[in-house]
Structures are given as structure tokens and as C-alpha cells.
Symmetry: C2
């Protein structure tokens, strides 16, 4: 995903002088065929936020976090949320939104550096799931009312075991399965808890949320303000220059990046 | 659960001359301690429906079916529902409610007698899951938008595989697990479909629905009329006389009953 300033356009829906976002090539002056115009979204930026924001906390990751939370979390002050991959681009935004809703936040992430970062974001309990037992944390700090699941498998089973009555599970991803031979996460043995604990489990992909009437509009009416006020922050790692593309991509694919990877091809 | 006429009361909330429902002993003149008064629900029957209705289609089974459907199904005309245990006390009501909502109904049940019964109730596709392959039926008649799950296990996996985008799964029971050594249904291998297909899965037990504001009131404002008009029917098997209790219980426990088992201890 990129953000670009439109220099010239032969299509009425794309206005010269405006900014747009969408899939576009890594080029300083990309030339897009007319057929792709429908996939470019115009951007309004009355608050003058950095344009990189629109590929991060106000882009797909921010939209995923905020819209799924808004649609499914039914957040209540004083309740407890458990956020997995809390150091990631999506999870870190979920942590901040959950805290803004007045919830206690338990957060898991995969490195001590990320633990420190997620604590800074305000999570109440943060742990490195590679060195600390998730089961023990949930039994001590739970039960949980909202589960932001990016992991699936045994973590999902533990969440089912440690859920409160009426808990909401937001199923954003199941990365525990992505490296298994059949690409499937471990089947949840405790699925019966869904009934016993009256759990609602919501799976989604981003286009499904875009189709929910009014939800994206609500995102644009709320999130830029939160970003401007510093209440929701994204962590970016910026590479400057077209030639840095390979370096940035390598960091993303090896997990070495420390925030949303942004390549600034050119300033305005 | 029983229905009784109050002959005498020393508690203001239970009025002599009125009818009540609740747990009560199999006796012609049960004498209940004051402490149990709070668990008796007064019944209004302005339509003069048979009192047995209030332990069946207007009792716990009807409440389970109607309230969970109302809360979770988000029924849309022309969409497809798959109802398991459709010949049972709850499932048979779900079938009728789904048809009233204008849906195509696929129904599974465990005997040819029940298949005939569920067809009478208006289901579009009815099959005996013991003799016909559920997978083949769903692949031919699906995809499904609402899944009424009373079974869990492999049937849940098949439903996940044959769900439409945005499907709603209503998790009422997982009887496939009740006879397994660890009392658990088979873990769903296809749980990842919850994300891919943007499925919402809702588990519940009846007290959880009672706690939803206004839902029980809505049940009472809608269902008695549907029952009176014959739009929702319950099948009852009636035993007359206190001494038939053992016979009725034996039928329920062996599955030999052909409808909601009702023992009429005494008429008014």
C-alpha cells in the first residue's frame, strides 16, 4: 500500500493535486492504468498528519484494529482484554484502543524489546510468550472478556479455558498454523467452552468490515483525532529512498523490523 | 419443569388462583417451601392455550429456540439455514422459525420417522444423518448462512467447510461429545474457516438469554400468537396420571419418545 500525490489524471474520480492511497508500484513517478483508478482511495488530511500515518495507524493495520474492535468487542470499562501479537502493527493499536475503553489489558508478544514497547503503550500485564507460560498468566490475571486472537491453536484453547461468561473472541489471525504442514492451526480441544461460557467468536477479514455500513466512515471520524492527540500511536521504521526497498522488505520477511515498515520514495 | 394452579399461597409474589411454572415435584398437590417461591414464574394465558404448551413450545425448549434465533441468526429471506437435531423439541421449533423468516432450510435428524415429521414442518431438505452423508448434502444444498448446531465435532467441521461468507453459527449443544470418554466433542479441524469466511459463532445457555434485556418479553409478545395461529407447532407425547412418570422418563432416557414428553398429573 502506498500514498501518492496525484500530478496528472485522465479519470474524474482521481483529482490532480489530491492525495490517494492504494496498491501502487515502488516508483517515484508511478504511472497507473485507468483500470486501476477505482482501487485508489482519495485521502483527506485536514489535520496535516504525516502522510506515512496513512499506510500505518490510519491505513490497513489501523482500520483492521479499530473496525474489528468497534464491531465485535462490546468493550466495557473494568473488563479484561487479552491481546496477542501485541507488539505488532495491528496488536499495538488494539492495546491502545482497549486502554482508551477503560479495560484491563493483558498482552502477549514475542520479544523482550516488544514487551517494553507494549508496556509503554499502557498495557497492564505484558509478557513474552516464548519465556513465560501463557496459561499461568491467564489463570492469574484472567478471566478475560475480550480476546484479540492472532494466534489460534493452543493459545485459543487457553483463552477458551480462561474466558468469562459472555466473552467476545475477535479472530483476526491464526499464525500458529501458518508454518504447520497443512497450514492449519491446532484444532481447539476446548471448543465446548463456547457454549458453557456463552462466548461469541467473530472471524473477519478486512473487506468484510469495509462492507459494514457506516463503519469505515466512523473510523475516519474518530481515528485521525486520536492520532493527532497522541492517544493512538503507531511505531514506524522508515527507510528513505527508492533504493532501500530491498532492505525494508528483507526486514519485514525476517521479522527484524521494529515497527510498520515505511519506505519514503519521495517527499512532496 | 411443570405447570401448576396455585391453590393456596403465603407469599405475595405467588397468587392463589393463578398458574405458575418452574421446577416442582411430580405430585398432585405439591407443597413448596417459601424459599422456592422466587423460582416460580407466573403464567399469563389470555389465549387459552393448552397448559401443556407452557412446558413445550412456550417453555424452555421454545424459549431456547426462539430467543437464540432472535439474538444471533440475523435471518435474511432467501438465505439458507442448516438445522441439526431437527426432529427434536428445540430443533423442530428452529425449523419452523427459519421457514417463517423465508429461509431455505436444510435439516438433519436421526430416524426416518423424524425425517417425515420435519418435512411436515416445512423444511426444504431433510435427511437422516445415519444413512445419508452430511457432507454430500451440504455440498449440494449449501453454502449455509445460519447453522443451528446441536452436534459439534465432525458436523461442525462440515458446516465450517460449507459456510457462506458472513455465516452465523448458533452453538446450542455438542451432543457428539456427550458420550466420548472425555465428554468433549471432536476438536474442529477447520476452525481457520471462521476467519476466512468471516463467521460469527455464538455459544449460549438459556440463562444467558434470559439476561438479555427485553428478549424474554419479546418472546412472550410473539410466540403465543404464532402457536395459536398454528404457525409454530410442538409435538407432544402425553402420559396421563402420576403413575406414568416412570414410563415417560424411560422413554426420554432411551430416546423412544416421539415428542416433548408431558405427564399430565391432574387437570384443573
Amino acid at each position: 500500500m502506498g500514498v501518492a500525490l496525484v500530478l496528472r489524471s485522465e479519470v474524474p474520480s482521481v483529482v490532480a493535486g489530491s492525495h490517494v492511497t492504494g496498491f501502487m508500484p515502488f516508483q517515484e513517478y508511478p504511472l497507473l492504468p485507468k483500470e486501476m483508478a477505482g482501487m485508489l482511495m482519495p485521502l483527506n488530511n485536514p489535520r496535516g498528519l504525516p502522510w506515512s500515518t496513512f499506510v500505518g495507524v490510519l491505513g490497513g493495520t489501523g482500520q483492521t484494529a479499530w473496525m474489528a474492535w468497534e464491531e465485535f468487542a462490546k468493550a466495557k470499562k473494568g473488563q479484561t482484554a487479552f491481546v496477542t501479537t501485541a507488539g505488532g502493527a495491528v496488536g499495538s493499536i488494539v492495546v491502545q484502543i482497549a486502554k482508551l475503553a477503560g479495560m484491563k489489558v493483558i498482552a502477549s508478544t514475542g520479544s523482550d524489546d516488544k514487551v517494553a514497547y507494549v508496556k509503554e503503550l499502557g498495557a497492564d500485564v505484558v509478557f513474552n510468550y516464548k519465556t513465560i507460560d501463557t496459561k499461568a498468566v491467564l489463570e492469574k490475571e484472567g478471566p478475560i472478556d475480550v480476546f484479540w486472537d492472532n494466534v489460534g491453536g493452543t493459545t485459543l484453547d487457553l483463552a477458551l479455558d480462561n474466558a468469562n461468561t459472555g466473552a467476545r473472541f475477535i479472530e483476526c489471525g491464526m499464525i500458529s498454523g501458518y508454518n504447520s504442514p497443512d497450514l492449519k492451526p491446532a484444532a481447539p480441544k476446548n471448543i465446548m467452552k463456547v457454549i458453557e461460557k456463552c462466548i461469541s467468536m467473530h472471524g473477519f477479514i478486512l473487506p468484510f468490515l469495509f462492507a459494514k455500513e457506516g463503519l469505515l466512515g466512523k473510523f475516519w471520524s474518530v481515528m485521525p483525532g486520536l492520532v493527532e492527540e497522541g492517544k493512538v500511536k503507531g511505531r514506524e521504521q522508515v527507510w528513505r529512498g527508492l533504493e532501500k526497498w530491498g532492505e525494508a522488505m528483507h526486514a519485514v520477511l525476517t521479522g527484524a523490523n521494529t515497527g510498520k515498515a515505511v519506505v519514503v520514495v519521495a517527499d512532496e
